[in-house]
């Protein structure tokens, strides 16, 4: 396990991560594993993150070493698509029992690997560590090594048990496993000056195939996609690519950066969500490949293709623009896609009323601010009721979010569209953008909304639950408006730091009392941001607003 904690430390020390670079030495050591909040957390674990990142490798047998929960409750539930093998959709687990917990699960793991190789003969087996075997000390590295020697096949340990941290960390640990055990272990049959790696793309709903034809047309070969529709051999020989595109914001930045370091493969961070982003990414790919030796005429062909595709896409979208006039979108999504989707929606003429940035890094948030303007309405921790109220106040006409929050919108009889992993539509590239706009239009103008909003025959006007809820909210607001003391109390009681349970008022008082100007100062005085540190951004904003005021007070 010492190697695991070393790996985690290494992952935390990511120079490619802007957030990390801004940290002090001590903070960096503490890492970015958020102290998850008991009773208030909802995300996946590190194992989940590792599995999400690697499972789209289609011809690999993904074996989960753990009790039934880890695989039995979750297998075959990802929307990634494969152009070849379907082995990745087969659920393999050691399903360890009480005896294994007492005597150790290594033998069962070894036998499981043997069974898989005998029955399914995959090019590689990936073994995922989970909490229980990690606790009892099962050494999966050793088992994988023994299996590798015995069966003469790559057996790759993925050391990312759930309890080491959140999903995001799991993504990176998965990347480390690829770097350590897979990438650079095989050689490609041939190389071309047009060989590109795509990193952090999972081919959800087959969206990679919305872009691949364009690359095909330009003669650009996707040497390896990590990991959507990827194959083991491609990833193993991906160190011979000429350039790389990192798609999924920060999820696998360690892979991109270390491949640059080790193999000299330059990378850029880009997105295929939205028309302009797609064009920029294509240009950047062409530029990098040319820099690495591809003929310069590639850029001319790329520009021609971009011009053609943009014209087609704009023409297709143009007819929706009048229909979207004045329509507002509430966007609730994790960090991964926030910034790219924002750009995409604005291109279609929609107005953004807010975006949840729960999982975004500070850099992501800045990017959203940049894209949406300085007064971007960031929604940090919207409760279901607030979300409903926002929709109901018609401040939003449609909500775009991941699968889990959809029911709030649907129960509020508001149009909703899925833009996260379990969605059924692909939204990448030019065709994807047009598709997204089509889907928003379909959702917005579906006559079902008028139907479901009709009162039941036994309902009195204004006496349904919706109006009661709204009346209640209004009454509360009016009461507060009439009572400035109470209003101030409510404002001050807003919780800023969830981990240490510190309210806004306490922070404000501390800033004034001790004339604080830094997050560190606030932390020392109030303990706020002493837990996961996620609220540091909010404290900075408070400081920005407060500090001139407190200085003024101090000056008096």
């Amino acid at each position: 396990m010492s190697s695991l904690s070393a790996t985690i430390q290494d992952v935390f020390n990511e120079p490619g991560c802007g957030k990390n670079a801004n940290k002090s030495e001590a903070e960096r050591k503490k890492g970015c594993t958020k102290q998850l909040q008991p009773g208030g957390a909802a995300g996946g674990c590190a194992f989940d993150g590792a599995k999400i990142a690697l499972q789209p490798l289609t011809d690999v047998a993904h074996l989960v070493h753990g009790p039934i929960a880890c695989e039995g409750n979750s297998w075959d539930n990802r929307g990634a698509k494969s152009s070849g093998s379907n082995l990745w959709r087969t659920g393999f687990t050691t399903d360890i029992n009480e005896t294994d917990v007492v005597f150790g699960g290594e033998k069962r793991l070894f036998k499981s690997i043997r069974e898989i190789i005998e029955k399914y003969d995959p090019p590689a087996v990936f073994v995922y560590q989970t909490c229980v075997p990690a606790m009892i000390g099962d050494d999966i590295d050793a088992v994988c090594k023994a299996a590798r020697e015995k069966f003469g096949k790559p057996v790759i340990p993925i050391n990312s048990p759930g309890f080491v941290g959140p999903k995001n960390l799991g993504n990176k640990l998965a990347g480390e496993a690829l770097l350590e055990h897979v990438i650079g272990t095989e050689e490609p049959e041939y190389t071309t000056p047009y060989d590109l790696n795509i990193i952090g793309e999972y081919n959800l709903s087959g969206e990679l195939w919305q872009v691949k034809p364009l690359l095909d047309e330009l003669g650009i070969r996707i040497m390896a996609c990590i990991s959507g529709d990827g194959k083991y051999k491609e990833v193993a020989s991906s160190h011979r690519a000429k350039a790389a595109m990192m798609v999924c914001s920060k999820a696998m930045i360690n892979v991109a950066r270390k491949m640059e370091e080790r193999y000299g493969i330059p990378f850029f961070e880009g997105s295929f969500y939205g028309i302009e982003d797609s064009s920029d990414s294509l240009r950047e790919i062409a530029r990098m490949l040319i820099e690495r030796g591809a003929p310069a005429e590639l850029m001319d062909r790329t520009e021609a293709l971009i011009a053609r595709e943009e014209a087609k896409a704009w023409a297709a979208i143009a007819k929706y623009k009048p229909r979207f006039q004045g329509k507002k979108v509430l966007l609730i999504t994790g960090g991964v896609k926030s910034w790219s989707v924002v750009a995409a929606l604005q291109e279609a003429g929609l107005e953004l009323v807010g975006t949840s940035v729960k999982k975004s890094t500070k850099e992501d948030k800045e990017r959203i601010k940049e894209l949406m303007g300085q007064d971007a309405h960031m929604i940090e921790d919207m409760t279901p009721r607030e979300m409903y109220k926002m929709l109901k106040d018609a401040r939003a006409d449609i909500m775009l979010s991941g699968g889990r929050s959809q029911f709030i919108a649907l129960k509020a009889s508001m149009p909703w569209l899925d833009i996260n992993q379990e969605r059924h539509h692909a939204y990448m590239g030019y065709v994807g953008m047009v598709k997204l706009v089509e889907e928003i239009d379909k959702a917005l103008y579906n006559p079902v909304w008028a139907q479901v909003r009709k009162p039941a025959p036994w309902e009195q006007a204004g006496d349904n639950w919706q109006s009661r809820a709204m009346a209640q909210a209004e009454a509360e607001a009016t009461a507060l408006a009439a009572d400035p003391v109470k209003a101030e109390e409510v404002r001050r009681s807003k919780k800023i730091c969830n981990c240490k349970s510190v309210e806004l008022g306490v922070i404000e008082d501390a800033i004034i009392a001790s004339n604080l100007s830094t997050v560190e100062g606030v932390r020392e005085a109030t303990n706020a941001s002493g837990g996961c540190g996620a609220c540091a951004v909010r404290i900075e904003e408070i400081l920005e607003q407060m500090v001139p005021a407190s200085h003024a007070i101090a000056a008096e």
Partner: protein
Amino acid sequence: MATVTVSKKACSVNPLKMSQPIGGALAFMGLRGAMPLLHGSQGCTSFGLVLFTRHFKEAIPMQTTAMSEVATVLGGYENVEQAVLNIYNRTKPEIIGICSTGVTETKGDDVDGYIKLIREKHAAVAHLPIVYVSTPDFKDAFQDGWEKTVTRIVETMVDAPKSAARRDPAKINVLPGCHLTPGDLDELRTILEDFGLEPTFLPDLAGSLDGHIPDDFTPTTIGGVGVEEISTMGQAGWTIAIGEQMRRAAEALQQKTGVPFRLFERLCGLEANDALMAFLTEISDRPAPMKYRRQRGQLVDAMLDGHFHIGGRKLAVGAEPDLLNEIGGLLTEMGAQLLVAVTTTQSPVLERLPTEEVLIGDLEDLENLAKVKDCDLMVTHSHGRQAASRLKIPFFRMGIPMFDRLGGGHQLMVGYRGARDLIFAISNLLMADHEENHEPTPDSWRDGVGASHAATSH
């Protein structure tokens, strides 16, 4: 009489089984104002949450103690304490239901002790109902988690009545197994009410996860049986338990309150419902309403119409024991042969199944056996989709999870009407399969008697 065997494989491939803690969490979801809390790392909850959300197409209340590696080693008291307080402050639940997981069971956290300490330390939660169930992931299956949780709720939340005189013969307790859908519970409620009885369901998923539009937004469950109502279950005249898995809970209830119980191993099929009708007639002292006499006739007719399609079918079923018993039983009664039966956990019903062998195994076993035995109808949850498509045989989805079709929560099986509709649904599937894949061609019989796989064999 079936023999029960356990798969010898080291590696489970394409699991049929789901874990105990989420079975327990689902049971808590049938309580009003409940917040199920898994004591484990946050993935334990997250996987369950996604699974139920995709099955019920509803927002699912479920929380985690978010155990980190360090907390796991040092013990989870602080995490449980923080979780309980956070849930209490944020969501004002009427009850918190805690299930342990593999992580915290490996360490051996004394959660009952923790709860006692938390109550002593924090006056606000001193009287908040908190029920804890031990449900390690590395033991048993989903159905067992449900069983243990309902039993635990009975043990801790039902009041022992002061005297038997206060018993109300019109009040009926219903303890449904987790193989019944919210739709099944609604159907049962209607039946019981038609006999003039007032049922209390524990758990009552029909109140909470039937897909209705709620009266208000709560982050906890939005319906289900209330804490008060559970405490008065000792005043009922009878308890009806459905599925062998509910025996322990029914016994616990009887032991605590003296309420007698009748266990219905099955409630899908003609005989099973005849037994229910006879029992309800007896305890309510009312004749079966006309409606059910007509429905019985409809079921008989459906069985006659359906047996042309279901008769002779070679059936492969993968389900938890009680669901396997229901569907395997119904189809066998209509002439199908239950050739392959795969299940998740031990149960006394298994050896009574109308088949030779029951295997505790996975969907790889189901697929391989179905192939060997040339089965031509597969029944299991949505995860059977890959196997069925490889085998190219008709596939009927039953059980949790059903994530790739709508209406899983309303699929009806109990009552005369439930069995009737189920027979229609399965027969229609078989007819459609015949039209698509087995219409005769000029070559169908060319090889004469003895040739296998004639196109018209079904």
